[in-house]
Symmetry: none
Subunit: 189 residues, 4 copies
């Protein structure tokens, strides 16, 4: 199975950034991981920071892509909220390493690239806010501040990257179901 070299590098970087953190990972480390000299890496990447930006960018857009369609589904807010939670869980638990880099290391980017990621994350948040807002307006959810409510749910779901363990007794789906209960229960009228 031939793989794109850039993707191989990005994957190695994700693995290493996740394990040691962005700053503690040297370009040499990444090069070693893909059997290249560190000078050769620069045929594929513009800089170490660019690499982090790409990873974070891919990650947040991965979160956003599907959520957009969920938001626009012709379904009740609670149904869409459940789907959103399952979707989010799917990505976090499906690639904890990448999610960790996004949620923990992306802030290390310098101003301009950092702004790009923050903007994308804000956009992602807004999808959640939209769902919650819809539910409140429809009388499906209790009245409240839709942004705070969304932040509460998203916070709980993001935090998962900190404690999720592939060897746990519960499947991601079971956990997501439980989270749906907890959060929907808090919202519903």
């Amino acid at each position: 199975m031939v793989v794109n070299k850039y993707d191989e590098i990005a994957r190695a970087a994700i693995r290493l950034f996740n394990k040691k953190g962005y700053h503690a990972t040297s370009v040499q480390d990444i090069a070693d991981e893909v059997n290249l000299q560190k000078g050769s890496l620069y045929h594929y990447i513009a800089s170490k920071e660019e690499l982090l930006l790409q990873i974070a960018s891919r990650s947040i857009h991965g979160f956003s892509r599907e959520l957009e369609s969920i938001v626009n589904l012709e379904e009740s807010a609670s149904s869409r909220l459940q789907k959103a939670i399952h979707h989010h869980f799917g990505i976090v638990t499906g690639d904890v390493e990448m999610t960790t880099v996004l949620l923990r290391d992306a802030f290390l980017l310098s101003d301009e690239p950092h702004r790009i990621i923050v903007a994308a994350m804000d956009e992602y948040l807004n999808h959640w806010v939209k769902i919650v807002d819809d539910g409140m307006n429809a009388g499906e959810f209790k009245e409240g501040d839709p942004r705070l409510a969304a932040l509460s749910i998203l916070g709980a779901c993001n935090w998962v990257y900190r404690w999720y363990n592939q060897n746990g007794t519960k499947t991601p789906k079971e956990i997501a179901d439980y989270f749906c209960d907890l959060h929907l229960g808090g919202m519903m009228r």
Copy 2:
């Protein structure tokens, strides 16, 4: 106002770590902030890492201290859970900078010191689990996995350091009240 020099250094470090991150903050930066030569800092600190450890340690113990008494209160689980949420919010919003260093940068510590912080954070989590477990056993809360439920609440409350803004329209207390509604609502039978 006479201040302890070590505390002044720690405060400066917290400010800088929060703003730029641990690795991007140089010892020189800290020294500049307290008007000392960087060599002179070493009269007060053993190393940059030790300083981070102290900060993280003080922070997590600050969280733990009061929670212990809350857990042991002779009150209903829901009442204690509300108090725990308010207490947590109080610390996070009272010192977002320090909380950020704890929740975002402490993982940069090397193995041994890292373990110390992780252990303290686990202990803190266990207090939350205890409250939730009490509530479930007493039939006050719906049945469920107390650890997952605690992680859900704590995740939502921790995430606050990411978005809390002193200039927002709502006071920390108001936000905490709302979070109580949301999370208690999800738990209660």
Copy 3:
């Protein structure tokens, strides 16, 4: 004349260590000597200490290599002892700088590398002891303590690095001959 860069560095280090001592020689000094930035040195060496270890190691093994064959020659002990003295003199006077680093600076190595050098020097001493012991057993030398006798000769021969001067009136060979007279004279029955 193309030279290996590592050897060029080692040679520069030997020259500088000899002149100023190990600690008083900075990595910068060595880099200057070979027209490199000090950071660039680290393409060739692992650390300053490693460099010292390599130098000392090469030096002591240079002493040992030939002595081993001398010890095993099918000749009288006195003949072999003379050859050993000449051999030792040849190396000391042929490269006083390197010998100085071995005999004067190698003790600055930290525990583990230091042990390595000490062990190699012990082995070298043992070759001398062997010759002396052979001579005593064969009745060629007066009875006595072979180790002390070897230390006496080796001490006298090592000390040479302290006073030998290329501009002296006597050649190394003449001096070695004289030392043979003195020490053989003290040993022979």
Copy 4:
């Protein structure tokens, strides 16, 4: 038993210099050893280097003092040479630590102080040369180069600081006797 503070400091320095070497011993180390703050040390010493100079100076003068009277004794050269050897052994084995500092570390002194020690050591050597020269002129010793002969004996006797071990089976006196045999044997007609 009240001791002079300066001597206590010098003694501590000797112990530490011997164990770790001059450069690896910090002023703080010395201060710790005498229960003083390092700032306070400077009431007693002018500088770390001055301290090394004092130690080396005391040491070499200790060697010289008695040798001068031995040289001038109205005795045969061989008798005086034996006494010189015993005297040298006595000092080396009586205070290996100080001798080590003299013979190993004194070269670290900067130019001017270094010259002072080298001059004193030269003077000490000259006493030995004088004895040997007397013996040669008197026909007591074989003809030869008195300076080289003295360097041979002195080298052997100096080297002792490298291997002498208080727990050895032989007493210093026994070893010195043996060295007398070996070296006188090489000299005598």
